[in-house]
């Protein structure tokens, strides 16, 4: 039985590698040990103390995603790249969340999010997922499933909606309320759309994605109602990244969370902006579970 599961996993990984080989996307490996923790408000790094016995003790962090290291390569002219690696996140627990999991992260130069979604469909087809593809904007799913005009509703009105549903309204930022209502009203409905991309998020949820026409150029992939991938039209300049890091750190401060050092080694690589590119992180374990209907 275990051999059977391992075999299936191997086949899927081989197909992924074959897919990228055919498209001339290079496989890379980047450092897992980092000098700085993540600045993402709702992701926590796992810290380690290293080199204590040889008198040069320091704190390092396991990467929560290979994103910044891969962007360093993109900034230096690597071209299209992908990576399959283990990532580590603290305070994650549940049926779908683990402290360690396998991520496939890849970047395509010159693509916009719609080209990247089409590329992902090709990958999913190659892995045997043949379901009809649904593509809906964040505003569409909210209007369809919750009758809320999510892009034009302010935090006060969202609090009224949440309170009518008997949900918590104790939020400082609008994005948290948007996510609460998404998780409560929309996500359970996505089980009916086996292969569904949701794109164009509210700009308050832009994180490291570009904002165009008042929406963040991001998408998420849901397979049978389970979020499997998260893609961005990536920010390009040093100033944009610096601004996001500072902003996220300010939010962490309000939650009394560990404040991350600004990753200067990353910013220093951006003296020349990143090329126009889109990138996506895919949870491999969740993907395998959806393909094989078995727990890996």
């Amino acid at each position: 039985m275990i051999r059977n599961i391992l075999f299936k996993k191997q086949i899927i990984i081989q197909k992924i590698r074959q897919f990228f080989r055919e498209q001339e996307v290079l496989e890379v490996q980047t450092p897992i040990l980092q000098n700085t923790s993540t600045s993402d408000v709702y992701i926590d790094s796992i810290s380690l103390t290293i080199n204590a016995d040889i008198g040069i003790q320091s704190t390092q962090y396991l990467h929560t995603s290979p994103e910044l290291e891969m962007k360093k390569l993109l900034a230096q002219g690597s071209g299209d790249i992908y990576q399959i690696c283990q990532v580590f996140r603290n305070n994650e627990y549940g049926e779908q969340n683990f402290n360690e999991f396998t991520l496939l992260e890849y970047y395509r130069l010159g693509f916009d999010i719609h080209q990247l979604m089409a590329d992902m469909v090709n990958l999913l087809r190659m892995l045997g997922i043949q379901d009809k593809v649904y593509q809906l904007s964040y505003a569409q799913v909210f209007s369809q499933y919750a009758n809320i005009d999510i892009l034009n509703t302010d935090i006060v009105s969202l609090k009224i909606i949440a309170s009518k549903l008997g949900l918590s309204t104790d939020f400082i930022w609008i994005e948290d309320l948007q996510m609460l209502l998404f998780v409560h009203l929309v996500e359970p409905k996505l089980k009916n759309l086996p292969l569904c991309f949701i794109y164009d998020y509210p700009k308050s949820q832009s994180t490291l994605a570009k904002v165009r026409n008042k929406v963040a150029k991001r998408f998420e992939l849901y397979l049978n109602g389970v979020e499997v991938a998260n893609g961005y039209d990536e920010l390009q300049t040093k100033d944009e990244y610096q601004q996001v890091f500072i902003c996220e750190n300010n939010k962490r401060k309000q939650f009394s969370k560990l404040i991350s050092q600004i990753d200067v080694s990353f910013l220093s690589k951006l003296s020349k902006p990143l090329p126009q590119c889109t990138g996506v992180a895919i949870g491999i374990n969740r993907l395998l579970t959806q393909i094989n209907e078995i727990k890996i």
């Binding site: 992701i43 779908q96 918590s168």
Partner: protein, 187 residues
């Protein structure tokens, strides 16, 4: 009453939700891609029996519900009230017809039922998973035809109607699964 934080939620915990006592069926952690952790909690409303799904943010609190479950023996029905007894304390409970109505058809004298009390008042009754009922009325039996048919309706002595195989006839005693209202076998 005690307050419970989302982090203490576990299946079976009884809590107050929308001023009704509820029991937790399932507590699932959901984490949006770049968002904070929420808990999607499935409850059973102990008064209406309906299933509810609510989403909570980590760190929220809910008030516990003063709910108790007792194993009581069903004694008899006198018009509008159904009478039960605690076999240890011999205390008797008279329960209103409205609370019994959903399970009336499964109440057999001497059977032990689970009676749920909220603030010491009965709010629901769970009959045993299997009860023995007597067939009060059904079409005459057909011999031999036991496979490939969906059976026929039969009315039990308690008033409940369910599908039984064709060979079952009036006066037979049958075993019934009360959770799905299905014939299990001859008793």
């Amino acid at each position: 009453m005690d307050k419970y934080s989302i982090n203490q939620f576990k299946n079976g915990l009884k809590l107050m939700l929308d001023s009704n006592p509820c029991s937790i069926l399932n507590n699932e952690i959901v984490k949006p891609g770049k968002g904070q952790v929420f808990n999607r909690v499935k409850f059973k409303d102990l008064i209406t029996g309906k299933t509810l799904i609510k989403t909570f943010k980590s760190g929220e609190f809910l008030e516990g519900a003063d709910v108790m479950e007792l194993d009581l023996q069903y004694l008899y029905n006198d018009g509008n009230t159904w009478n039960f007894m605690d076999l240890h304390s011999f205390e008797q409970y008279s329960i209103d017809g409205a609370i019994v109505s959903g399970v009336k058809g499964y109440l057999v004298e001497q059977d032990i039922c689970i009676v749920t009390l909220w603030n010491n008042n009965p709010i629901s009754i769970t009959p045993p998973n299997h009860v023995i009922l007597e067939v009060f009325d059904t079409d005459p039996g057909l011999k031999g035809d036991t496979v490939g048919t969906s059976g026929k309706p039969a009315t039990m002595n308690t008033g409940v109607v369910l599908q039984v195989p064709l060979f079952v006839s009036i006066g037979d005693k049958v075993k019934v699964d009360t959770r799905i209202n299905e014939y299990v076998g001859r008793a």
